[in-house]
Amino acid sequence: MEVQVTELTIFIVLFAFVSVLGFVASRWRRPDTMEHLDEWGLGGRNFGGWITWFLLGGDLYTAYTFVAVPALMFGAGAMGFFALPYTVVLYPLVLIPLVRLWSVSHVHGFVTPADFVRARFGSSTMALLVAITGIVATMPYIALQLVGIEAVLKAMGVEGKWPITIAFLILAIYTYNSGLRAPALIAFVKDTLIYLTVIVAIVVIPTKLGGWDAIFAAAGEKFSQPAAQAAGSGLLLNANNQLNYVTLAFGSALALFLYPHSLTGVLAARSRDTVKRNMAALPAYSFVLGLLALLGLMAIAAEIVPVGADPAAGVPGDRNTVVPLLFGWAFPSWFAGIAFAAIGIGALVPAAVMSIAAANLFTRNIYTEYIRRDASPREEAQVSKLVSLVVKFVAVVLVLGLDTQYSIDLQLIGGVIILQTLPAVALGVFTRWFHKWALVAGWVAGMVFGFWMLWTIPNPATDRKHFGGSAFKLSELGVDTKWTIYAGFLSVALNLIVVALVTWGLRAGKVADGEDVTKPSDYTAEQGDPKVRDIPELVGDGRPSAT
């Protein structure tokens, strides 16, 4: 493929612009000192409604989503549309747990979900498991942001690994320097570019293709081929994949706010009210995601051939490139450059927040918990900054060392494992009934079952026998049906059953439980309510206070 100079130039200019923003961000809403985790890792815990809306939108809707969801629609049709119900169900579902988690974190100075688990259940073991789960689940997610940038670069004719390495190096340096303020500021640019691109695409491309009728006719034609039918593709769901569609949407919604990077965005908000209001405003991004998904069908009508594909020989190529290629096909060079930059910059915001969140988990729940119990806030901030570099470095190595397919599989696994923290984190804000050792038992059971299910799933398209997807065949459990179900959904169901049964058993046997240092009123606290400690040096080690 030829290198497209105009597009690449615009891409680089916009990329350079947000990099400068990233460095300048450290002076934005300037704190007295950056040497504190509340400042570096949570932007001062003082973001208002608009900043939170841009930051969370930029954080949750990642570059990978922008290329992968349309790619799934391009390949399989209706099944790829699960991303829409997923992000619609999401906000009403998490509204109450999130505002409660915001309140209790505000009172006690929690920075990570593991901080909360430690205080609520008095269990450093469960807190460690939550921290490790969060870090492990986040790593492949960061790597996939690189895959998003890579898809755009490929579409511009830039192959090879060094460009994304440079992009990530710049990202790593300004994140180190500015902390959460950098992605918050860049999110304004990212989200604006995404909205602009999608609105233009949804007007221009159907017109070019002769209307929606033509688009759906072309897609229907493709999915009616015998091979596509055999793979369960179609413009509608078939008899066997409806349960999978619903459980995948619901399970993904349960998982998203368990990811540490989502909570980072929430805890950075100024008030409980800000978080609640955002739950009503964030679905605007879901609408955009739904429109983006339809681009996958437009790519079929536009007869887009993915980079590296050979239809004659049946080689699928890199489907993640279909949306960038569609933009290249539909737009003049200068606007295609802006569209590519939208996706490329779209990778920077989540990657930065994810690395900050993973670094905070390491610092708060591993370093100060097990290595240096008396670390000063300054030392905490310093460790977090360094770890955020390490995290990005590992992500780059993952992408350079493994093939892309492997990163995607790792991300699938990530969704299933992060769900195992649901009883402790999401249900923990409502009830203290679970026994700390029951939570550990449930986590282990859910993990083992989840991994076994993923192991049984083949992927005929890539010729893999294991870890080929997340749609688990119920027939593997001896049920006589062709239905499939989302593996994460079943694994977390088992987790909950084990937690309930073991809690009941341990309570009956009067086994000692951990101490809960939170009070019921902590869960409804609002900005301005008294905190456990109002002395900055002492805020937020999540341990019981001496008072």
Binding site: L84, G211, L236, R270, D273, A284, G290
Partner: protein, 78 residues
Amino acid sequence: MSATEETPTPPSEPPARSDRNHWYWLLLVPIVVPLLPMLYNHTDPTIWGIPRFYWLQLLFVVLSVAITLVVYRQTRGR
């Protein structure tokens, strides 16, 4: 709303708030409705050539926003 740091009040009981509010039950509507494929897994009626599967699920976004807004307004400051 001012962005300034409030001076810490002496530890007194904060105003009683509660997350028990009957308005929150409304949130079940946008949680349950998008998970019912029988509502949208059909082609007809099409709007501008878009099958029901796609346009109806996009409409659920509007439904979700509307209901969440109502709940937010009714439970504000509690």
